[in-house]
Structures are given as structure tokens and as C-alpha cells.
Symmetry: C2
Subunit: 258 residues, 2 copies
């Protein structure tokens, strides 16, 4: 473990949250190292473009090179690359927006976002991270994750984003059980009021979950008695095809616990 690198990353992390830009002194206090040390780290990071110093205030903020690196990650991400055509097809078929996500710690990161065909105002860019327990994508992934990881996530902090977000571990455990049963996960107004989600897991070569793909849209349209089942089936089928393309044979449906 290289401490100076660790500290450099801590600097970046500190610049991520809270204030848009911080001074050397404030950073030094927060991280718990001396001022000159932080200064040296910042100068190095600046030379590499990971950090930029504001000409007027002398304070530091994140640099543009980080965007390039982030994009490079997304481009090398096999699941994302492969999922793009499938996501577009699913969006075209269902008329809803499609998200593709992977599990990062206890968050779901949206690595691809296919807009709904007739949509107009559509925010949320790829790269957003959301609590796993508040999304259909998250539930779909966690349901098929190794048991140890499931327990860890269930016993971790469970954030509520709306009044309907499920944070009770036992209720969640039952939901995950159901996901394993029917092969897809549903979320209703747990992430955003008025919106719902339907998602199915994607498996890779080693038959481990790689991520999930799912629909997002207004509850009325998505979970309508008429469309709900068709949406679920279309989603699950897309996930299966994607899994097959990635070499994962454990495509959906019930499976023995790890």
C-alpha cells in the first residue's frame, strides 16, 4: 500500500463532496496531514490534470482529466458495450427508458441510459449512482449475488429516498427471494415519486451476476395491469439474451444458493 497515492486519492474524494473547491489548509485539516504534504500532492495531481487550481482564489477543484478516465472506464466496460444495442431495442419495443446498471459497493451505477423513443425532457446522465435497495436494478443484481455479499448489504445502512423506499432487511430479504423466483425485480416509487422500475439480472461467463437491465417510467404506465407483465417478460428476455452473449449460462429463473 503506497501511502502517498492513498492520500492523493483521499484529496480527490474530499474535493468530490461538499464544497466545489477547497483550499490547501482545509484539505490538510480534513485528511489529517500537514499542509506542505497536501500541497505537493496537489501540484502533482495538477500537473496530470486531475486537479485544477482556480486562478483567482488559489483554491483547488477537480480537473477535466477525470472525465476522460471515467469515460475510458465506461468504454472498456464489456457489459456496457454489449448492452447498448439490446437496450435500444428494449426501449423501442416497450416505449420506455432503459437503464443498465452494475453494483458498486452498496450503490448501483447506471452505465448506460437509452432514452425512451418519444421522450422529451430527459435528465440523468450515465454515471449516476443510486442506493441498491431503492432501485429495481439493485434488487435484481443483489438477489443473485453471493450470499455473503447479500448479507453484508442487508446488514449495511439502507437509505430511504422516498417514503416508499423499503429499508427493513427482512422485507428486502423476502423481496430478493421473490426476485429469484420470478426472475425479475420491481420497484414502485422507491427512487422517485411517480416513477417505477422493472429489471432483470445479467450473468457473465463465470455465471456470476454482471449487472442488470431494466425499464424506468411513470408508475401508471409501467405497472399498469395491462402492460406490467409484457414489460417484465420483455425485460427478462432481453437480459437473457444479453447473458447468453456474455457467456453466462445461468440465465434467470430459480437457482441454488451459493
Amino acid at each position: 500500500m503506497v501511502q502517498s497515492v492513498r492520500r492523493a486519492v483521499h484529496v480527490l474524494r474530499e474535493l468530490t463532496g461538499a464544497a466545489p473547491r477547497l483550499g490547501v489548509t482545509e484539505l490538510a485539516d480534513r485528511i489529517g496531514v500537514s499542509k506542505p504534504t497536501v500541497h505537493a500532492l496537489l501540484r502533482t495531481l495538477e500537473a496530470e490534470g486531475l486537479v485544477v487550481q482556480d486562478a483567482e482564489s488559489g483554491k483547488y477543484q477537480l480537473g477535466p482529466a477525470l472525465v476522460t478516465l471515467g469515460n475510458a472506464y465506461l468504454d472498456t466496460h464489456e457489459l456496457r458495450t454489449r448492452s447498448m444495442t439490446w437496450a435500444n431495442a428494449l426501449a423501442a419495443k416497450t416505449g420506455e427508458a432503459v437503464w443498465v446498471g452494475v453494483l458498486v459497493g452498496d450503490q448501483v451505477m447506471v452505465v448506460h441510459h437509452a432514452f425512451r423513443p418519444e421522450g422529451m425532457v430527459q435528465a440523468l446522465e450515465t454515471g449516476a449512482t443510486l442506493p441498491w435497495n431503492a432501485t429495481a436494478l439493485g434488487k435484481a443484481v443483489v438477489a443473485f449475488a453471493p450470499e455473503a455479499q447479500q448479507e453484508k448489504l442487508l446488514s449495511g445502512t439502507l437509505v430511504a429516498l422516498t417514503g416508499r423506499t423499503v429499508t427493513d432487511p427482512e422485507v428486502l430479504r423476502a423481496q430478493l427471494e421473490q426476485v429469484r423466483d420470478i426472475g425479475y425485480a420491481v420497484e414502485s416509487q422507491e427512487l422517485t415519486l411517480g416513477d417505477a422500475g422493472i429489471a432483470a439480472p445479467i450473468f457473465e461467463r463465470s455465471s456470476a451476476v454482471a449487472g442488470a437491465i431494466g425499464l424506468v417510467g411513470p408508475v401508471e404506465r409501467l405497472l399498469d395491469e395491462e402492460h406490467r407483465q409484457a414489460h417484465a417478460i420483455a425485460t427478462r428476455e432481453t437480459a437473457r439474451n444479453l447473458s447468453r452473449e456474455l457467456g453466462g449460462f445461468r440465465a434467470g429463473g430459480r437457482l441454488p444458493a451459493f
Copy 2:
């Protein structure tokens, strides 16, 4: 300058290009340091999530935390935040896609992309970097950059993306002069065959260029004799309003050299 941090960033850079994932040995060779050193760096980066080790091959690739950092940069970016409503309005008014970009080295990074209202196929996410000389955004920014920087960029390597990309420094210099004259830049099929661009510079507090905003679309539609002038005026006006919001008083038009 902290060498270990520098090397850690070099590792990330190396993982950015070429192969999606690299082994310890290969990385060590490319960077020119010993194997154990690279290993220690990778372990540290992995602990922070900036790098991920592939379970099967043992090779390393970029990690998801980079996306979070990249997004954090975009969120803290004042120009981007402020430009979003203006970009949407311009897209609605002109019926074309709108890009907002900043200059990063000799590249233009697209920090925001407002889709055209009636568009369907929507590629290119924010975060893409393009050669400055092949985009209207780049020309708009460089035309109002400090003279020293202009010279440096003109004497640097000028990449051609299509047969129509201008790479002759003298021609470019004349184009920049014209941009300063009329207050906006035009590019026709220099970035992508069939597409054109119109862009105007955005100024910030200190009256330095902060970036540019512009339209992108099919040549026929964008540079049509009928629409061309209206598009240019709308773009320039949007840029002026944005500049005013950012506190930049030097809004468009001719200005004395620095």
C-alpha cells in the same frame, strides 16, 4: 512533485488507451518501473476503486470510482451547470442539437449535450474530447484565448479527422481572425462528414474565455442559406446571455489582442 502519485496516474493513463486490461508485467515495461512497484501502486488504486482486477485473468482494468469522480467534476463545473437551461432553450429554438465545450489542452471536451427536440438516434455522450481545430466550439474558444496560447496551439500538432479538416496554421489563423470579427465560428464537415457546427464563445468573470456553446447538425440543414444566419445569431445571443450570467462583460464582437 510526488513521484509515486505521478506513476500511479501514469498507470491509469496506460490503462486508458490501447488494451482494455493490462497485466502487471506489461504495465511495468510500458512505464519503465519495476514489477513490484507497479504491483504496489495497483493494489492501492484497487483499494480505492480506481482500478479493478479481473478475477479470472489476474489483469487490471480501470475501476468504477473514476466515473464518480468524473461526474463530480462535471457537477462542480460552473459553466456546465449554468449552461444547461440555455442549451435546452437554444435546442428548442433552433431544432438542433446543442453542445457546450471547454478547452482542455488541445482538445475540446463536450461538457453538456442537449439533444435536438425531434432527434432519434442520439450518440456521443458528454465527456468526449475532440481536436480543437476540427470543431466550431474549438475555434470559437481559441479565437479569444490569450495570444500565447493561440500560437502554441497553432504550432502544435493539428489532426485531420476528415478530408476537409483545416490543418494549415495560416488558414486557421485567418479563420480565428474572422471569428473575432463576426463573433462566432463555423465548421463544415471537418469533424464528421455530413455534419456542420456553429459556435460562439462564452466569457467569465475575469473576461477570459470559459468555453463555447454551439449547434451541431447536418450541413444541409445547419448551413442552409436560409437558416444559417438565424442559427448564428441565436447561438451568439445565447452565448452572450450565458456570459452575462457568468459575469463576463466581454460578450462577443471584436476585441483588442491580449
